[in-house]
């Protein structure tokens, strides 16, 4: 059991310093001569005053309370928590990239622009698309870009009636949230018994009001939408566009391409499929690739090449506009580029194959005790803890917490919404068979514990830095910043 760590503010003592700052290298004038005193701040922000070594100890100490991929399996479904290659980190920190100012003229940014241009082409090839924007900073922002592209496309054809976007009931929460943000109405479609989009539900929803369909593939159950060609045809025939949430591309890359399935727009998650680290919440990158007919509407600026040199391309009169303050999460693009060039064409396919193999293996080990209501998925499977709960009273939440005691992160739980007591599990391709076995053994042991000693499970976790935390209390008695009231 870990020790409680005071906040950095409690470690502060007036007059202590963590780092020093250069003195002005020019003749100095009193501050009041530079800035009118009515603008000056009376009291400085109460930032901590802590020596460097203590800052290092503080953040080292709290870091040790985190689970992370470099420790053990992190099977969060839909998140693709694969290994983050160390070379990527080195490359993003090269001074030619890290030190590059976004307003540097193109002639001083040829390396960055060239890398972006090439990465765009590689990603278009993987996606089977014609054009791309690297600007979106994450998946959700890629979705916003994509739905705004739908809007611009229809308007460009003089069609302003299309107010609705179709989304299956298994979709990730960002899909409906994005559709609303883009000013469209969400229409939820049913999934069928196989966990796939119900074609009747689709047919009856399709009409001249529909801007398009957002369909994750494989979907959030890990199930491939095998009727995708029919679906695309139906949507296109009614004048709509096909959007793929590409969060699950790890199952497909090198094997099948969104562009070949009839999709018009896809966002890729470089922080999932392309190995860039999650950083405890971000940053990510969510490039959006499209078919040629949507290219005129992509965000500005793009990157163009002319006579062997590269430049930002602002000349897109029909563009939806700018979606990021500059050109996107460039440092993340460097990492993904490094990864993709190292994998090469064979590595891309091997990666998808192993991601699916690993999941199938794990499913084979688990499905007897943790049933798969919609069957085994491709790169991930969604198990149900409903039977276990009925038999033992132990909920999926308890199983997840108990897994933490075994040294693993839990899967994504209670999502997708259409599976009761869901455990959405994605092992990724970078895990060995032994690690998958260790994880399966842990889950099976927990199932046994649920039967013989349920309180061990319902009281979990026991071996973590803190035990179960009271989320209700956090919401009722808001404490979202350190209060300096107790300071001397």
């Amino acid at each position: 059991m870990g020790e409680w760590t005071p906040t950095i503010f409690e470690k502060s003592r007036p007059g202590r310093r963590g780092t020093t700052v250069p003195r002005p290298d020019v003749p100095v004038r009193p501050l009041e001569e530079l800035i009118p005193s009515r603008h000056l701040r009376a009291t400085s922000p109460r930032l901590p005053e802590v020596p460097e070594h203590e800052v290092v100890r503080h953040y080292t100490e709290i870091s040790l309370k985190n689970h992370h991929v470099d420790r053990a399996l992190y099977p969060l479904g839909s998140c693709t928590m694969k290994y983050n290659p160390k070379v990527n980190e080195q490359m993003a920190r090269l001074s030619g990239f890290a030190g590059l100012h976004p307003f540097a003229p193109a002639e001083a940014a040829q390396g960055a622009l060239g890398l972006m241009h090439e990465l765009g082409e590689l990603l278009c090839e993987v996606a089977g698309m014609d054009s791309i924007s690297l600007q979106p900073a994450a998946g959700a922002q890629g979705e916003l870009t994509g739905v705004l592209l739908m809007r611009a496309y229809h308007r460009g054809r003089g069609d302003e009636r299309r107010r609705r976007v179709l989304i299956p009931d298994s979709a990730h929460g960002t899909n409906p949230a994005t559709v609303a943000l883009a000013g469209f109405e969400v229409v939820e479609l049913r999934s069928n018994e196989a966990g796939r989009l119900d074609l009747d539900s689709l047919r009856s929803a399709l009409d001249a009001d529909v801007a398009g369909l957002m369909l994750t593939n494989p979907n959030t159950l890990g199930v491939f939408e095998s009727e995708i060609l029919e679906i695309s045809e139906l949507v296109h025939r009614s004048g709509g566009l096909m959007y793929m949430d590409g969060a699950n591309l790890n199952a497909l890359m090198g094997i099948a391409r969104p562009g070949d399935m009839g999709y018009d727009i896809v966002h890729l998650n470089l922080h999932k499929t392309f190995s860039t680290p999650h950083g405890g919440g971000g940053p990510g990158a969510g490039p959006v690739a499209v078919k040629a007919r949507l290219a005129p509407f992509l965000p500005v600026p793009g990157v163009k090449t002319e006579g062997g040199s590269y430049a930002l391309d602002w000349d897109r009169p029909e563009s939806i506009g700018k979606i990021h303050g500059f050109y996107g999460n460039f440092g993340v693009l460097v990492r993904a580029y490094t990864y993709l060039r190292m994998l090469g064409c064979d590595g891309v396919r091997e990666t998808a194959e192993a991601a699916v193999l690993n999941n199938a293996y794990l499913s084979a080990r688990l499905e007897e005790r943790f049933p798969l209501p919609y069957g085994r998925g491709m790169h991930e499977s969604v198990y149900s803890g409903a039977a276990l709960k009925k038999k033992t009273g132990v909920k999926t939440l308890d199983v997840a917490k108990r897994l933490l005691d075994y040294g693993f992160h839990a899967p994504t739980i209670y999502f997708p919404l259409i599976v009761a007591e869901a455990l959405m599990t994605e092992p990724t391709e970078t895990e060995t068979r032994e690690e998958l076995d260790r994880y399966a053994d842990a889950l099976l042991a927990i199932a046994d514990e649920a039967e013989h000693d349920p309180e061990l499970v319902t009281g979990a976790p026991h071996a973590t830095p803190v035990t179960r935390l009271d989320e209700g209390r956090a919401g009722r008695r808001l404490d979202v910043r350190w209060s300096f009231d107790n300071d001397a």
């Binding site: 963590g18 800035i35 992370h68 943000l181 999650h278 405890g280 303050g325 917490k401």
Partner: protein
Amino acid sequence: MSYVPHSDVDRRAMLAAIGVSSVRELFSDIPAAIVRDGPLDLPEALSEWEAIRLVAGHASRNPELACFAGGGIYDHHVPAAADHLIRRSEFYTAYTPYQPEVSQGTLQAIYEFQTMICELTGMDVANASMYDGATATAEAVLMAISATRRRQVVLAGHLHPYYRRVITTYTQGLDIELRMAGAGREGLVEPAGLAEVGRETACIVVQSPNFLGLIEEVEPLADRAHEAGALLVCVVADPVSLALIRSPGEQGADIAAGEGQPFGNTPSFGGPVVGLFAAREKFIRKMPGRIVGGTEDTEGRRGYVLTLQTREQQIRRGKATSNICTNQGLNALAATIHLALIGREGLRQVAETSAQHAHYAASRIAELDGYELLHPGSPFVREFAVRTPGDPQAIVRRGLERGLLAGVSLSRFPGIGAPNGLLLAFTEKRTLEEIDLLIDVLRRG
């Protein structure tokens, strides 16, 4: 190379356990018509060394320059310990803290980040980060619309042109009217000029220091907004300024949105950086993004969790306050650690050294033939615009030959109406020698 660990023996054993004879069988749900029979048209795999050589080659085509460019991204020193700590696997290879019992490191750091952002901005509550300053500002506009149930937004004065573009993008599908209220002759917003503010106005958006580096009089704008029942959104694209000048909170802002890049994050061609978002406490349930709160575990020990999640897409779906999910967590951590290292006095010194450099350079440039400050009467912290005798883009190009990024040519932004303007920013990293060189580049015109 790929990062797949399996040998052929592993693969065979796993296939046997699954009960299939080949990996391809696992893909049988994909219709044959769309399964590729050949490889993708991608380059051959590279070894790690080959990849390093290739990527470093790209990097070497971006020359290292002494940077006098700002415009929302500033070239400050990031302490070695900050970068060292964010390279810890425990931080950078973790996901969003969905299981708080094994994410206390990330959660506590965010709680500290929120506190620091509140201190800097003078606001009550802050979130765990947005993508960047531009999207934070767009989300602030959306929040003001939702909080007031009004549909008009007044973008006042010299708001960063890219932020303005992102706001336009974010609001294009919604029935929202964006009104631009230009700056006055001094480069600052004139409250008397805000005729459009009225009963339909959701918020006034003002950036201070503004895009030209000038310090706005925010308080009268807040009063103007509040008289009309609207909110004031104060945009901070240069957070280092907050060490010296009055905070958005002190000046009556309801929401502060901005960019945190100078804290802990390198310019990196504009991303990844870190969007800041803070507000008055009464708006907390309308805020976008993750928020961390303190609580207790079953044994009464303090701990942290993601809180007020019913605002967010994973619960509220189509009715969420925002669609954001992944944010800029590691960049927020870098900012937190940098601010912890530099501390209260250190940040003031960074800001003051930067301001001393800028004011010294301004007075020297004003003496050059053909040069003048664009707005000589208006106060600035460490960034200002000058009128150049010749084409500012040509000046920037000549600077490159001398190893300088000699500012940002305002001819890039027709909306600003200063085709002969050059925007210059200064940090603690610039030396007298570099400033002399800059003056020489300018003198030669």
